[in-house]
Amino acid sequence: MTDTKRSWLTTSPVAAVLLPVVGLIGAIALWWLATVVFGIDSYLLPGPQDVVSTFLDQPAYLLKETGTSMIETVEGFLLAIVLGVPIAVLIVRSVILERLVYPLLLMVNAIPKIAIAPLLVVWMGFGQWPKVVMVLLVCFFPIVISTAQGMKSTPVELVELLRSLNASRIQEFFKLRLRYAMPQIFTGLKVAISLAVIGSVIAEFVGATQGLGYVIQQSGASADTSLAFAAITLLSIMSIVLFYGLVLLEHLLLPWAQETR
């Protein structure tokens, strides 16, 4: 009896969707229960109902700020792809370039990004650029690394095959190497997108007039904990949406990759 129950919970696709929902609802219920049972003041820990009502007080405002953060995040992320992938390609193609650039990349990556945030404000002001650049900085490295690794993993026999067909270098790149690297590139992108959200919030903490990071910072100043919680919730929803957007894209673009790996 228990056996069949367990197998249903592990195998059924309905359960696969239902279980996380149950977990989430359970956690929220516990949270609510804790605030009630221990009588915690709402400026210390607001209950879920406070957070929801804070959101419902000003949904347009909060959604607009979410949009701002989202756009900065996506712009920085796309910029990191546009710059990172070609650089990875160059690194793979030339040993000299790899030796020249790679340590530099490592060094830049080693800098705690939050330490640069105030500098970016000095250089670029309070607009969206310092945020986009911050996102770019945090995303860049994982994208370069995963792309470079992916490009290096092309099996020799496939390269030899294309050579035997008299393929040009460009054909070899687009028809083979880049395609072959795609699953690994996506692995890098999924790491990068989570970092991207963190990057945009950091940048907004330091010098911004809008965005969810700015909302959180302001709410701290006025001890409006519910507002901070609402903003944090929106941030994590945004992060999850972006992440699963990538997962979906990967499924659509690389149906072959799930099986071969």
């Binding site: 099996p155 026999e157 496939l158 030899e160 095959l161 294309l162 050579r163 035997s164 067909l165 008299n166 393929a167 054909q171 028809k175 083979l176 395609r179 690389l254 149906p255 072959w256 990759a257 099986e259 071969t260």
Partner: protein
């Protein structure tokens, strides 16, 4: 069709130079089926890659159809031990790869030809599948179709069936002989199975261990079609196999081989 004159190949290995092939003189007539046997590491693959134009010989001359080989030719196809299919391409589009790489001319006609070839090897109905959905034998059949799509004058095959189970291997060698009779292609086929070499070949070329030289060329006059499994000419096959075995084994006593495990 294929002519090698005084061909030698020396590689720069990590521990100095490695002579892979030495003084190879070989003449393959049009429409002939030549199999190449020799111990592993004796330079069989290297010899094929020289004929394919994937590797320039250190000395000597390689000619195909009376022209010196300087790069891969469109009328010479190469088939590898592993299927070397692009995992994101359907069966049909893998077969069409050589045509696609060459350019657009006559795509439609080649597409019909691809369907024809796939039907010939029993893959009708699998055109839209991805490689990972096929068994190893089916994958190698796709690879065979791909090497036939441009109606090659010469097919170079590097142990193409050695990764397959015995039954599939027998089937495929039967199919290859049928195709061969139909198309009168010139084939150079590397194998480490003596029996396979005898069953397939008009002539068997035996190479010595490193450096590879032509030890002996044995004519096979057994009438076709021949089969790897049940065989009307078992005694002849056994007799020649024994002879070849002797030729291969005789070199074992030489000290050069004792170095290698």
């Amino acid at each position: 069709m294929i002519r090698l004159d005084g061909v030698g190949q020396v590689f720069d290995g990590r521990e100095g130079q490695v002579t892979a092939l030495e003084e190879i003189d070989l003449h393959v007539r049009p429409g002939e089926f030549v199999t190449l046997i020799g111990r592993s590491g004796c330079g069989k693959s290297t010899l094929l890659r020289l004929i394919a134009g994937l590797l320039p010989p250190t000395y000597g001359e390689v000619r195909v159809a009376d022209e010196p080989v300087t790069r891969p030719r469109r009328d010479v196809s190469f088939m590898f031990q592993r299927p070397a299919l692009l995992p994101w391409r359907s069966v049909l589009s893998n077969v069409m790869l050589p045509v696609e790489i060459e350019g657009d001319k006559g795509r439609a006609a080649y597409r019909d030809r691809a369907h024809e070839l796939l039907e010939l090897v029993g893959l009708k109905g699998f055109e839209g599948r991805l490689p990972h959905e096929l068994s190893g034998g089916m994958q190698q059949r796709v690879s065979l179709c791909r090497s036939l799509i441009r109606d090659p004058q010469v097919m170079l095959m590097d142990e193409p069936f050695s990764a397959l189970d015995a039954l599939t291997r027998t089937e495929l060698s039967g199919e290859l002989q049928r195709i061969k009779m139909e198309l009168s292609t010139t084939i150079v086929f590397v194998t480490h199975s003596i029996e396979e070499a005898v069953v397939l070949a008009d002539r068997v070329v035996v190479l010595t261990p490193r450096p590879g030289r032509v030890r002996e060329v044995v004519d096979i006059d057994i009438p076709r079609p021949r089969s790897l499994g049940r065989n009307a000419h078992l005694t002849e096959v056994a007799e020649i196999s024994g002879l070849l075995h002797g030729l291969l084994a005789e070199k074992e006593a030489r000290p050069v081989d004792e170095v290698r495990p």
